[in-house]
Amino acid sequence: MSLDAIVQVALEDFTLDVELHVDDGELLAVLGPNGAGKTTLLHALSGLRPVDGGRIAIDATVVDDPATARFVPPEQRSVGVVFQDYLLFAHLSALDNVAFGLRARGAGRSAARARAHALLTEVGMHDKASSRPRELSGGQAQRVALARALAIEPALLLLDEPLAALDVQVRVETRHQLRDVLARFPGARILVTHDPIDALTLADRILIMEHGRVVQVGRAEDVLERPRSEYVAELAGVNLYRGRADGCHIAVGRDVVTVADDHHGDVLAVIPPHAVVLHTAPPESSARNVWPGTIAGMERYAGRVRVRLTGTLPIVAEVTVAAATDLGLVEGMQLWAAVKATEIEVHAA
Amino acid sequence: MFHASRRTLASIAVCCTLVAAACGSSSKSSSSSSSTASAATAGAKLTGSLNVFAAASLTAAFTDYKKTLEAQNPGLSITNDFAGSQALVTQIENGAPADVFASADMKNMQKLVDKGLVGTPQIFAKNKLEIAVAPGNPKHITSLADLEQSGIVFVLEDPSVPAGNYARQAFQKAGLPAPKPASNELDVKSAIAKIESGDADATIVYVTDVTAAGSKVEGVAIPENQNVIATYPIAVVKATKNPAAAQGYVDGLVNGPGRQALEARGFLPPS
């Protein structure tokens, strides 16, 4: 186990209580809404914030254990951090930024600079070695920050929203490069992000945090296909309902969702938007589930239109642009949404 | 951003030039009023306000004189300004509103005489030098020569101050080499203060200063053949706005209650 951690930190509104394990070579993406405690988690792992309870061990070395009063300060841990705003030292060149960690740990100037050069080349920034951080674009700064963190050859690499500050276009490119560089990194990596694409393309496993607790953890595809909270559902872009199942009927609020198989107890019902059919008049069909609703908003992207309906059972439907035009969909319009029972996935809650 | 128009900047420049020129012309004006000829007749009261600029060593005596004179002349209001004679000369040269000036030596008074700023000076008192030491004379200083011993810290007044000038003359008269004091204080009061605080072991001031300092210092006499007699001249400032009172003040100092005040404080008579 490269990282073995139980992190308990008392925060203002809630207590952070997270357990995680990350192997060498594994990349864990941590997602969660704002205020979930993700940054605190990273601070605890890097040593910038001691935990109140729990235990952190990096590469089998215990670095934080309140029970035995053991605490290793950040400068002595083998943790590299790429911060959200990169935090490159403005008074140093890109090269000296990358060399900073090596020099701080005792390397001579020329040796440190040589290694820094190699790392900058690895991230594709060797021609900007003598530039100051203020002369770099967002994507370039991100790469220098990554090189700087990798320079100290940490056992654990933490990345805090490394792509958040970039434009969409740059983000796509940088994500590719990040993936390549990270692939060569042998240690454990944790990536905090709010972008599910990051999680899907970069991570081996994802961990969902809400209010300081772990809500879901597992392979990226599994988590997103089977969301267990509204947050993840929205992340994945699906409709998620909690209800009580009695046979093939699930009571969700005052509505009933009819599904194909029998279930009992508390369940989560997932309806993919593409399975929702919209009717301008109450349909007569084989669909077991028909609910009325009013269009609250429409978003168009990639040849599709996502239609949000409000009603007793709010639902998001996905239709083609042509269909939307034909039906004359506009905000405020009254519609009926129909979903086949066989299209609904049910998971035990 | 604001931008000032060219016209505004030009008018500012004109303002500056005018003000500078005005300043230039005003400082060249010299006093126009002439010194008074007649002294106040005996019995006639002095009135008005009077600014007396006097050397620091005259502080005690002139304060006494002020009380007496004001009591005798209820309509008179005296303001005393005590400082090193050289500082007062500079102020008067630059137009300070003094009516009377009493200096601790002729050298400083002469500067004002040469510039035509004062009337004919009169000698009103004399003083002589004394070595001032801490009470009990812990360092056993008995003569000028003792001051230069190693382990003795002594201060003098700056050569630009009359007392400092006189002190150095005393060393000369004693056949000693030019003194190297630890500090050149700016007036006798500061020199005495250094004895009181214990930072200096000895200094040379006037006998009147030693008297004025009371129990805080002790005096060691300087033999007559080494001592220097300081002559104190007083003169009416030509630009005075109260010539009658100014002359009356001078007369009282030379021959009246002022004389008594001086002698009470240890000054020697002018003759």
Binding site: S46, G47, L48, P73, P74, E75, Q76, R77, V79, G80, V81, F83, D85, L87, F89, A90, H91, F100, G101, A104, R105, A149, I152 | F2, H3, A4, S5, T8, C15, C16, V19, A20, C23, G24, G84, Q86, A87, V89, T90, E93, N108, K111, V153, V155, D158, P159, S160, V161, P181, A182, S183, N184, E185, L186, S190, K194, S197, G198, D199, A200
Partner: protein
């Protein structure tokens, strides 16, 4: 980019851009207030005698001494003041506000009062001075005393400037440095100090300028000893009192020139700090 046609006539500047007359008047008076004394010096200066005045050994000694004492005072202020500024900015301890008032005190006290206080504390019979005297450390009438007097009045400027800078640094950079392996001292030396460099320079320059011009505390505590404590301001004073106003003016202009040069350099530093 599409080409534009030139406007037919020049537009008049909108009225909101003009400075109100009252403001111009006030500002002009302020400028005159500062400029006229300086102009007075320049106008009356006997330029032909300047070289003679400046080449006398006393003048040179006084200038040399002034530079030595002011630089020494600034060095001491840096060594003592920067740690103090750091503590004041970063450590919450009981009595912090009292210490802040203490640091500001020399700025508020008349310099002569400061000199008297130093004398009572560090003079030969002073509170602490009596012990110093026994071990052979003499401050009054010595170079050290002049340096101390200048440090006393000038250090608050440095402490205030640097404290404000430490307060406003982004701590996250220090966090980043720690994760890279820098010890606390290393972080201070290699990240924090460089980050506050403009303020540090500005504070040091202000401190130096204040030390250079100090008179009251120096004369009261260190005395007026040519070659040891007679700094240029003291020398100007006694020269003036010796009725050699010509020489005094020339020497004053030397001080003015030095101070102006420092303060003009300072302005650029302030801009960089922002």
């Amino acid at each position: 980019m599409a080409t534009r046609t030139a406007p037919a006539a020049r537009r008049t500047r909108p009225t909101t851009d003009r400075v109100p007359g009252v403001v111009i008047a006030g500002a002009t008076c302020a400028v005159l207030f500062f400029a006229i004394p300086l102009l007075g010096l320049v106008w009356r200066a006997p330029w032909s005698a300047a070289w003679d005045v400046l080449s006398t050994p006393e003048a040179r000694t006084a200038l040399r001494l002034s530079i030595q004492t002011s630089l020494s005072a600034t060095a001491i202020a840096l060594v003592l003041g920067v740690p103090l500024a750091w503590v004041q900015a970063r450590v919450a301890y009981p009595g912090r506000r009292v210490v802040r008032a203490l640091v500001l005190l020399p700025m508020v006290l008349p310099p002569v009062v400061g000199g008297v206080a130093l004398l009572l504390a560090l003079g030969r019979h002073g509170l602490v001075g009596q012990y110093l005297d026994h071990v052979g450390v003499h401050l009054p009438f010595h170079f050290g005393g002049a340096v101390l007097a200048e440090t006393f009045v000038a250090m608050p400027f440095l402490v205030l400037t640097v404290e404000a800078a430490f307060r406003s640094t982004d701590r996250r950079f220090e966090d980043a440095a720690r994760t890279l392996g820098a010890s606390r001292l290393s972080v201070f030396r290699r990240v924090t100090l460089p980050m506050i460099r403009p303020s540090l320079v500005a504070g040091a320059l202000l401190c130096w300028a204040r030390a250079l011009g100090e008179f009251g505390a120096t004369i009261t505590f260190a005395g007026n000893a040519p070659g040891k404590t007679q700094t240029l301001p003291l020398f100007v004073y006694v020269t003036l009192e010796g009725a050699n106003s010509d020489a005094a003016i020339i020497l004053s202009l030397v001080l003015v020139a030095v101070s102006l040069a420092v303060l003009v350099a300072l302005r650029d530093r302030w801009l960089t700090a922002l």
